[in-house]
């Protein structure tokens, strides 16, 4: 659910670019090939003014390079940073994903998402920056690929490998001690957009040793999962994205149906949206945390 919305946000940011990109004037600073193969970081030295245009890149960037080498991260990052690595963004400037930000901050490397990449490339010619497009992550394999990609782009491949090694240690530990009873769970924050197979949330749930009942939906990514289906499937626990970072919303009232409170009291598990939206090394921590919460759940299923 969150991922879909973040994507909508990013698409919006992309649209902003489209409207703000200066028309005409395709003067390219010499030596910059925005669309060509990425030159190895060593050839130019490490980038020192890195700008991120996507929330997930923000988080990865803060883990990989010291703040003084970051030109800016997006204004969306703060809440997610507070949830995952409090204080890490102190003193780091923010951008609003606009063309003016790019031209003003004069980055030497732009980390863009799928939606902002085409606009960033067009703009990069004028700004003189290299653009790296970072795809979305839907599995732990995706996380490994993206962390390595960003690590190479910012000139910190060793740091990226270290982060991934930490993640893999946790994943291996989770795999070694299988949960005794595989719980049947669903990430349900109102039934409109429930993550099914092929989503990062599904991957985290699976690694934690539980079974995502929404993975059986014919719709393989995000599907609807109404209260009727919830009653019929009778999951052992319901995961709900925490809303304390985003302020009140309509979904609070959708998730507050008395049926949920009556039959899943003590079985509703809040989780940090950021770790489930962005594929990060912390996604393994999310799975570890989930396993611990599952252990504490009452053994018997909801009764009816």
């Amino acid at each position: 659910m969150r991922l879909a919305r973040f994507r909508a946000c990013l698409a919006l940011a992309g649209a902003l670019f489209l409207t703000l990109t200066p028309v005409g004037g395709t003067l390219s600073p010499p030596g910059v090939q925005p669309d060509g193969p990425e030159p190895p970081a060593a050839a130019h030295g490490k980038p020192t003014r890195i700008m991120s245009l996507m929330l997930c890149n923000d988080l990865l960037l803060l883990m990989l390079v010291p703040p003084e080498r970051i030109a800016s991260i997006t204004y969306l990052a703060h809440d997610a940073v507070e949830a995952l690595m409090p204080g890490a963004d102190r003193g780091v400037p923010v951008n609003y994903g606009t063309a003016e930000d790019v031209l003003l901050q004069r980055p030497d490397l732009i980390l863009a998402g799928t939606y902002s990449a085409p606009m960033a490339r067009r703009l990069a010619r004028r700004a003189g920056a290299r653009v790296v497009e970072v795809p979305a992550t839907n599995s732990f394999e995706d996380i490994r690929r993206v962390v390595r990609q960003v690590g190479a782009a910012v000139g910190e491949p060793e740091r990226a490998e270290a982060l991934l090694a930490g993640m893999d240690v946790k994943l291996a530990r989770l795999a070694a001690e299988r949960a005794a009873r595989p719980l049947r769970v669903v990430a349900w924050s109102g039934g409109n957009s429930v993550p099914g197979k092929g989503t990062l949330t599904d991957a985290i749930i699976t690694v934690s040793g539980a079974e995502n009942i929404a993975a059986k939906l014919p719709d393989t990514r995000y599907g609807s999962f109404g209260l009727e289906e919830l009653l019929a499937a009778r999951p052992d626990a319901i995961l709900q994205g925490e809303t304390r970072w985003t302020g009140p919303s309509l979904r609070d009232s959708q998730t507050a149906h008395p049926l949920i409170d009556r039959y899943w009291r003590g079985r509703v598990i809040g989780y940090p949206d950021a770790a489930y939206t962005c594929g990060l090394p912390q996604s393994a921590d999310a799975a570890v945390a989930l396993r611990a919460v599952f252990r504490g759940l009452p053994a018997e299923s909801p009764a009816w």
Binding site: R5, A8, C9, L76, G191, N192, S193, D219, G223, S224, G226, L227, E228, E229, L231, A232, R234, T246, G247, P248, S249, L250, R251, D252, S253, Q254, A256, H257, P258, L259, A303, W304
Partner: protein, 331 residues
């Protein structure tokens, strides 16, 4: 009123169709349960799945569809009678917009989180405020009333955009866009129970208007000379519509076209006398919305369609046809 003698038959047909639609509505849902299982569920020890789905999800949903549909049909018929304008509907007076604004403020500024029934309460307050504003500035005549309603609708729309802009949640605009399209799915009994008194009160207000509306068909001056208190009549219709439609909108979102189409669809059968249209229009509105709600449950879409989408898709062509048909009939 030549066609008035058909009135009882139409009521009879509607009363026959409604139970059939209700039965269908209880039988159809995202989880396919055979009718026998549903019946067994009532007898078996509770709680069981069939009983839970029926009592906590499908029955409230059906009740809400009926109540909201009836409210819209009744409101549309009353407003078309009062304004003597075939295009009148609850949305026209800004009542739906006001209700939506109230509900949005409740949702996005933490009131709903602090007090779960704040959404319907503020929706009703918004509808009442919008209705009162329309009445205050539009009391001098029918045309002014329509214009005032349009102005208040615009104001409510601006207020809605402003509220969404200031909302701390970045997804507010997305959520509210879908919410406004209307749905009666997954509302609980407590929410329905809070809205019902206001809706019933609104219906009660409208129950006093048929005689005045009938006389008003002769013209405003003639009606007044026959002893109709026009100010009171307007106040009754507006209060009735604001209370019932306001509460209904807060529950189900802004559902278009039912209030516009229902009176038109019953008119060929019961004649054009406003007093004879009110009840059939309410019944037909209820039937129309319930059938629409069944349709969105049956249609194999990944996400359930919203009620307003379907009512508009079905309602618009039919309304166009009706307009052309009426034009051909009139000299």
């Amino acid at each position: 009123m030549v066609k008035a003698n058909r009135h009882p038959q139409v009521l009879f047909v509607l009363l026959l169709l409604l139970p059939a639609a209700v039965a269908l509505s209880l039988a159809v849902g995202r989880v396919a349960l055979p009718f026998s299982v549903l019946i067994d569920g009532l007898a078996e020890p509770k709680p069981n799945l069939a009983w839970l789905i029926l009592s906590e999800l499908r029955v409230p949903r059906t009740v809400l569809a009926l109540v909201v549909g009836a409210t819209l049909g009744l409101g549309g018929a009353a407003l078309q009678g009062l304004l003597r304008n075939p295009l009148a509907e609850p949305g026209l007076l800004g009542v739906s917009g006001g209700a939506a604004l109230g509900a949005v403020i409740a949702i996005y500024f933490g009131l709903a989180a602090a007090f779960v029934l704040a959404i319907p309460l503020l929706g009703i307050a918004g509808a009442l405020a919008a209705g009162a504003l329309t009445f205050l500035f539009g009391r001098s005549g029918t045309l002014t009333l329509i214009l005032a309603g349009a102005a208040v609708s615009g104001l409510a729309g601006a207020g809605l955009a402003l509220a969404l802009n200031f909302a701390p949640n970045p997804y507010a605009a997305y959520e509210i866009t879908t919410w406004l399209l209307g749905s009666v799915a997954e509302r609980d009994w407590a929410q329905i129970a809070l809205c019902m008194p206001f809706i019933l009160l609104g219906w009660f207000c409208l129950a006093f208007t048929p005689r005045g509306l009938d006389l008003l068909t002769l013209g405003e001056a003639q009606a007044e000379s026959l002893g109709v208190n026009l100010g009171l009549l307007r106040a009754q219709v507006l209060a009735g519509v604001a209370l019932s439609v306001g509460a209904a909108t807060a529950m189900a979102g802004a559902i278009g076209f039912v209030g516009l189409v229902a009176p038109h669809l019953v008119r060929p059968f019961v004649g054009h006398q406003p007093s004879r249209i009110l009840l059939p229009s309410a019944l037909f509105g209820a039937l129309l919305l319930l059938v629409t709600d069944i349709a969105i449950r049956v249609l194999p879409t990944s996400n359930e369609l919203k009620l307003g989408v379907l009512t508009s898709l079905i309602g618009t062509p039919f309304f166009f046809w009706l307009v052309l048909h009426l034009r051909r009939l009139s000299p």
